[in-house]
């Protein structure tokens, strides 16, 4: 045997060993072998059981909040600079797509101070463009690059918040990630292995936990209509109508800009109210917010303050004296409810509300069945293919079988090395790869037979067969990989798993069917100089 053949054989053995190591490590016992296998091959939720949620961050909420804050800050700046202004108002983008259309209308800016006004916006609020609509009126729109940043920031902070809530629930194995290619894609995928009833978790994740303390202007009113009649159908500028919590309808007119928000929270706990014995959730403000809150409450004694959680007035107590850093939220029915609220407040509020798009739950018994069925079909497929190959190609069938098994080993090992998750469609991909992989051997063997019939000697026929079939194999593989690639781009998690297995399987197949199989033939022929027959 010549040296180059030895090198080829050594490299094949090397690849095989590296692959086996990736799958089962170096086991010292049968139990360790099973453990290593389970550690290396990550199973998808559809195989091990669990829940998957997809939710969508309503980023327009963050844009509205940003605009509200901006209005407040501009007013302060204008006051300092002694620029007179009439009113500020913003529009209401309803959908995610409309977020970027956020717009603030400034009216009645002193015409003589127009330059000053533009300078302040330009210097202090570089995220915004200002255009004049008439002599004293202006329109503020967000710069496209800043809008993209805000979108990214909102999605990212929603992910962080959801992560810390999930951690707070003790679901350690869970994963929270953005779905979709772009960083601005407002969809979040949450996978929770072992959770088969996501009801409570959904509740907790959905609570925006957007806590805001607003000054009460008027109210409560029994109905919205009643409130509107009092103001002749138009709410005063800078205010908003908010519904009160409870079965009995009630409405409050609040100042639009909150005094403090949940972002300013330092801590939150469930506690029992000493007066009513009901469960409440207490909160403590951060130092910075405490100063602001203290000044506000001191200046507004005897006015009322609304505690608004997720767009509902929980309570509207009268400010008795200066409060600096703590408060409580009433209205929890049970201790768990108060606890859950404290958990979400601690984890931080979502920067925008979330909407569920999808929920998938696979029970553990179905996962176990799927694994069993996947393995069964793989085994039956493999046995059938091997049987046909051995019957049809005799000894050369052994060659194909070795290449086929190595193909499967390489495929599984690469999945393990890149940390891919094996899903049920992924198993189907492995099974299908078995069927497709052997096609290459068939193409080569048929070609060799043809060359033999054409009168070539064994060695020459084999060489010609491999050479001629190679281009065909590349052609067929490219088409299969191209369609799988589109599948990968389009697919959801599970389908991606299928596409990945198929692509890896086909790439590995070029190595096994073309290289390994040829080396096996060479090795078979290397012993005797004169080979006249080939079992193919």
């Amino acid at each position: 045997m010549d040296r180059s053949l030895w090198i080829k054989i050594a490299s094949i053995v090397g690849v095989t060993l590296v692959c086996l190591y990736g799958i089962i490590g170096i086991p010292k016992s049968q139990k360790e072998l099973v453990d290593n296998f389970n550690n290396n091959i990550k199973l998808g939720l559809d195989l091990k059981g669990g829940s998957q949620l997809v939710l969508q961050v309503q980023v327009q909420d963050a844009f509205k909040a940003e605009a509200d804050q901006l209005i407040d800050r501009i007013k302060t700046e204008l006051k300092t600079a002694a620029v007179d202004y009439g009113s500020f108002d913003r529009n209401e983008p309803d959908t995610i797509e409309d977020s970027e259309k956020i717009e603030i209308v400034a009216k009645g800016i002193n015409i003589n101070k127009a330059g000053e006004f533009r300078r302040i916006i330009g210097d202090r609020f570089p995220d915004w463009n200002v255009t004049s609509t008439s002599g004293s009126d202006y329109k503020l729109t967000m710069k496209p690059s800043s809008a993209i940043d805000l979108r990214k920031k909102t999605v990212l902070s929603a992910i962080r918040t959801i992560e810390s809530r999930i951690d707070g629930l003790g679901l350690a194995e869970s994963s929270v990630q953005q779905r979709g290619a772009a960083e601005t894609e407002p969809e979040i995928l949450i996978q929770m292995p072992g959770v088969d009833d996501p009801g409570r978790i959904k509740q907790i994740l959905q609570t925006a936990a957007l806590l805001e303390l607003h000054e009460v202007q008027e109210g409560p009113f029994a109905t919205r209509e009643q409130m509107m009649t009092q103001f002749n159908g138009i709410l005063p500028p800078g205010t908003k109508a908010v519904r009160g919590m409870g079965a009995q309808e009630s409405w409050f007119l609040l100042k639009r800009a909150p005094v403090v928000t949940g972002r300013d929270l330092r801590d939150s706990r469930a506690a029992q109210d000493t007066m009513t014995n009901g469960w409440v959730t207490t909160f403590v403000l951060s130092q910075d917010a405490a100063g602001r809150f203290g000044r506000f409450t001191e200046a507004n004694i005897n006015k009322r303050l609304a505690i608004v959680l997720d767009g509902q007035v929980r309570s509207a107590p009268t400010i008795q004296n200066k409060i600096s850093d703590n408060g409580q939220i009433t209205g929890a029915a049970t201790q768990q409810e108060a606890n859950d609220l404290a958990l979400v407040l601690r984890a931080g509020s979502l920067p925008a509300s979330v909407v569920y798009l999808e929920e998938r739950t696979v029970g553990p018994s179905l996962g176990a069945d799927s694994i069993r069925q996947g393995l069964m079909s793989g085994l039956v497929g493999l046995v059938a293919v091997v049987f046909v190959m051995l019957a049809y190609y005799k000894k050369s069938g052994i060659n194909a079988t070795v290449a086929l098994i190595l193909n499967a080993i390489i495929l599984i090992a690469i999945l393990a090395y890149i940390g891919a998750t094996l899903t049920l469609p992924g198993i189907a991909g492995v099974v299908l790869t078995i069927g497709m992989a052997v096609d290459s051997n068939v193409l080569i063997f048929e070609r060799i037979r043809e060359e033999l019939r054409g009168g070539k000697a064994v060695r020459a026929a084999i060489d010609a067969g491999f050479k001629r079939a190679f281009l065909t194999i590349i052609d067929t593989h490219v088409t299969a990989v191209v369609s799988s690639a589109f599948l990968f781009i389009f697919g959801t998690t599970n389908v991606k798993g299928f596409a990945v297995t198929l692509i890896i399987g086909l790439l590995a197949n070029v190595f096994t069917a073309v290289f390994v199989s040829k080396v096996i033939f060479d090795w078979e022929l290397s012993g005797n100089k004169k080979v006249t027959t080939l079992s193919i």
Binding site: A368, G435, S483, F486
Partner: protein, 414 residues
Amino acid sequence: MSKTLVHQPDSGRMQLFRDTNFDFMGNKWPMIGLSLILTAAGLVSLAIEGGPRYGIDFKGGTLLYVKFADKPSEESVRSALAKKIPGEISVVAVQGTNELMIQTEMRNEKELQSTRQAIEDTLASVFGSTPDKLNFTGAAAGRVYERLNLPLQKAGVFISDEDLRKLVTEALSFRDKQKGGMLVSLDELNGVPGLTPQILNVLKQEAYLGKYLVRNTEVVGPRVGNELRTQAVLATLYALAGMLIYVGLRFEFSYGFAAVIAVLHDTIITIGLFSLFHKEISLTVVAALLTLVGYSMNDTIVVFDRIRENLQRGRKGDMTEIVNRSINETLSRTIMTSGLTFLTAVALWLFGGQVLNGFAFALVIGILVGTYSSIFVASPILVAWQDFMKSRGNNQKSGGASPAVTTAKKLAAK
């Protein structure tokens, strides 16, 4: 023709087709007729049904697979659900199991929250639950542990915390992996290592066996479905365009065109047959379709490769004869390669379970149709194209070289 499946004693080689000389091109019309009938049947069925039957992934809705101890009639479950849930409800028995597939439509995103709960509540009220006991069927490990911890201590059973957790895991693993998630009696747990009669007694006090088990739940909002549908169609079209370009580059545009028409034909027939068999197009079915786009291309390429080779060798005869000879020469490998992949697809179809059923069905059909189409659709189109170019060439310049020969020259020049 009697030479099929000849065993050659001299070489010891089994050969499916040896030196065959079927006149594929001469008999193409009956086969093209069959294709047209299948395509038409599928399209008519699609037209009657108002488009493909989309699975939950594409149309949105709620889907539950529920396993029952005693399977109730579909109608009884359907009518019980209809009282609580508006809109269309379909309840279908899963063949060969004790399961029902419950599916409801969803018209807006708000129903996403409520429908699943409504279905589970209805099931609980119809099939009974014991409110102050733990439903051992479907209970997660954490809950079983919590439920047993104190009562075990009260009953004076000493078991360490760690051992109890391990025992619960073992018991649930037995339930899910050996018994498909449902026990007939708690006594079945007797064989679980570490489960003493005292513990079993406590378990019997604290838990009952629910008569049904929700095995799988999928809730998809309609908006996601619409997006996915567009994406699926786009992905398929892009994949086809990719094929056209690749085959066009490797061969010639006419080859790419013929191959893509054949693959499109396979896709339409597969979708049509799904409609005829009342099967749903789910995400995994689209995955199968895209795989088929790539795969049924393979057979076509093998034949085309040989046509090109025969043209390059300057074999005599017109295009029809060359194509015929090429198909005959590659017949063995076409049947072998398709047949082997077909075997694995059938294995998936028979043993892959309910989740993969649609996927495997699409593969089984697609491989059959794909193999047939590379012979009876792609090749005739190629011949027709070349003949058309030839007649046009003759009109423009009478006595010009035949396209088959020009093709051969061009390719030889490459």
